[in-house]
Symmetry: C2
Subunit: 325 residues, 2 copies
């Protein structure tokens, strides 16, 4: 994970673009790991960094702090942030808490607890917002790649792979040209406001419109995180298939059978993320394919269905005031 | 593993280049997995293929045989080849038995048992030989990559990584320009002759000569397998860093501390592969760095030590008959 340079560069830039938010300030690093973010904050001029880490990695954080000459600035605390007490409120919370598809095995619950316990009234969160995206996609390595493996048909094996994938979403890079429609930002968290209970169930019901003729084989999910900035454009850490890959890759729910779609065809789907009962840090993802004939399309739907083409034409006339005369 | 196209293509070519060895013949596929090699053999005209697979994967092999129309040629047998009885001797044994660095979790023992039980006197092994190679190398992601991670020194962490790597060799792609000397083929197995006891301990003691000034940080090990051929150049399945990557990658034993070497510098090393007592399919690898001043160099050693330069000059004079006059 440390070798994820996209991640490291995003945090570094977000912190160094905003040194005024760190200079002389008290910082809390939740889930500090090897302490790399704590060192960024110290380098940016923080007067104190509390680096809280529950695993044995805290020892590495101590060594890295020392190796970089910040042993008097960074105080590594071995423990869960839920159990920790600090002597003071903090000005900034930094944390790299994001799991696969943002929430899987992530630490957002802990960050929320830390915020409510320790962040001063006008304190900053780094990052301060997160957005979840979804889009229909092709997943050739679960379908057509198995139709001819050096001259051998292995479709029955691909079916087994998909059965496995239906038990557990697949973490893998999706090529951007395998995304079949404009992605939908279906959930946005303000990290200064979000509550733990907001994360219990997340639902999106959306009609995507296929941008090309393709084999619709799955729904891919990813996220972006945005950092606060008072001076420059906010830094965005993106795990979008269009951007440089990260260790988060994308998360794909593979359909048991593919669907051929045409350009302009509506793809209606409901995605449900729900905490599992066994672990609060894990989710079940349920994808339901909906019938585009049976649900309401949005006002400006660009799909090829007659009702949407007509509705769009009418709306356009209204906009042009053609009904005024 | 099925997605390893280098592997699949090598087996396919070795079999299809030699259809006469398969046409109308009885074949045994040891550890058939999903049955891909069995189908190659059936496509090449085998009259019968016994596909022996101990794991539940045998069910996939049955389906793949059927999907490709060879359910009457390929007989899938669920069991360990050691426990299986066949009604007849076989003309060919095909097997993809190779583990990491050839032997780790490999199935060569089982292939040897199968050969001794079932292969007819003039039968063929596919592949029929295997060679182990070693070379000193650089492993920057265990050393210098950690000297500056976005402006942070993480050398103490790299040291921990190397400590971990000393418990268990690293399976990873080594770039060919990180190989520091001409590789040494230190062990060759004739698969028609090799005995199980030949695999208990394998040792190489060699003086490599560095081809460039570099940071010597590990010893990398890999293998090639060669297939019999009566008609064309034998097919070689290579896992050499110079060749297209495979899922076997390379196996690297990382040194706890690096050594700067100059061009022409001798790097003397002893590598010991020894079966563990806990599992016959696992090995301990021990690397001992030797002092080039204390061991005999080969006759034509190209290292920069005075004794080798002198010896080479003398040998050259002998070759040119300069001592005859």
């Amino acid at each position: 994970m440390l070798e994820d340079s996209v991640r490291n560069r995003a945090y570094r830039k977000a912190i160094f673009d905003n040194v005024d938010s760190f200079k002389g300030k008290i910082v809390l690093d939740v889930g500090a790991g090897s302490g790399i973010l704590s060192v960024f904050c110290a380098q940016a001029g923080a007067s104190k960094v509390y680096a809280v880490e529950a695993s044995e990695t805290y020892k590495i954080a101590e060594e890295i702090a020392k190796e970089n000459g910040f042993e008097h600035v960074i105080k590594v605390i071995h423990g869960r942030v839920e159990d920790v007490e600090l002597e003071e409120k903090v000005d900034v919370i930094v944390s790299e808490w994001m799991g696969f598809y943002l929430l899987h095995e992530g630490m957002l619950d802990s960050v929320i607890v830390a915020r409510d316990k320790f962040l001063s009234a006008n304190g900053l969160m780094f990052p301060d917002s997160a957005t979840l995206y979804a889009a229909p996609c092709s997943v050739p390595n679960m379908f057509e790649d198995w139709e001819d493996v050096e001259g051998i048909s292995m479709k029955s094996f691909a079916q087994k792979l998909r059965h496995q994938a239906s038990q557990k979403p697949v973490t893998a890079i999706i090529k951007s040209d395998h995304i079949l429609a404009i992605p939908e930002a279906f959930c946005w968290f303000d990290l200064k406001e979000v509550k733990v209970s907001d994360l219990d169930t997340i639902t999106v019901k959306h009609i995507f419109v296929s941008t090309k003729a393709a084999r619709y084989q799955g729904i891919s999910i990813w996220f972006t995180c945005t950092f606060p900035s008072s001076v420059t454009e906010p830094v965005i850490l993106s795990t979008d298939p269009d951007d440089e890959p990260t260790h988060w890759k994308q998360t794909t729910i593979v359909l048991p059978e593919e669907v051929a779609v045409e350009e302009g065809e509506p793809v209606a789907v409901e995605v449900n993320l729900k905490r599992t009962t066994e672990s609060e840090r894990r989710y079940n993802i349920e994808v339901t394919m909906l019938d585009p004939n049976e649900i309401d399309h949005p006002e400006y739907c660009s799909c090829y269905m007659t009702k949407c083409i007509l509705a769009k034409a009418v709306l356009k006339k209204y906009e042009n005031n053609e009904f005024d005369n």
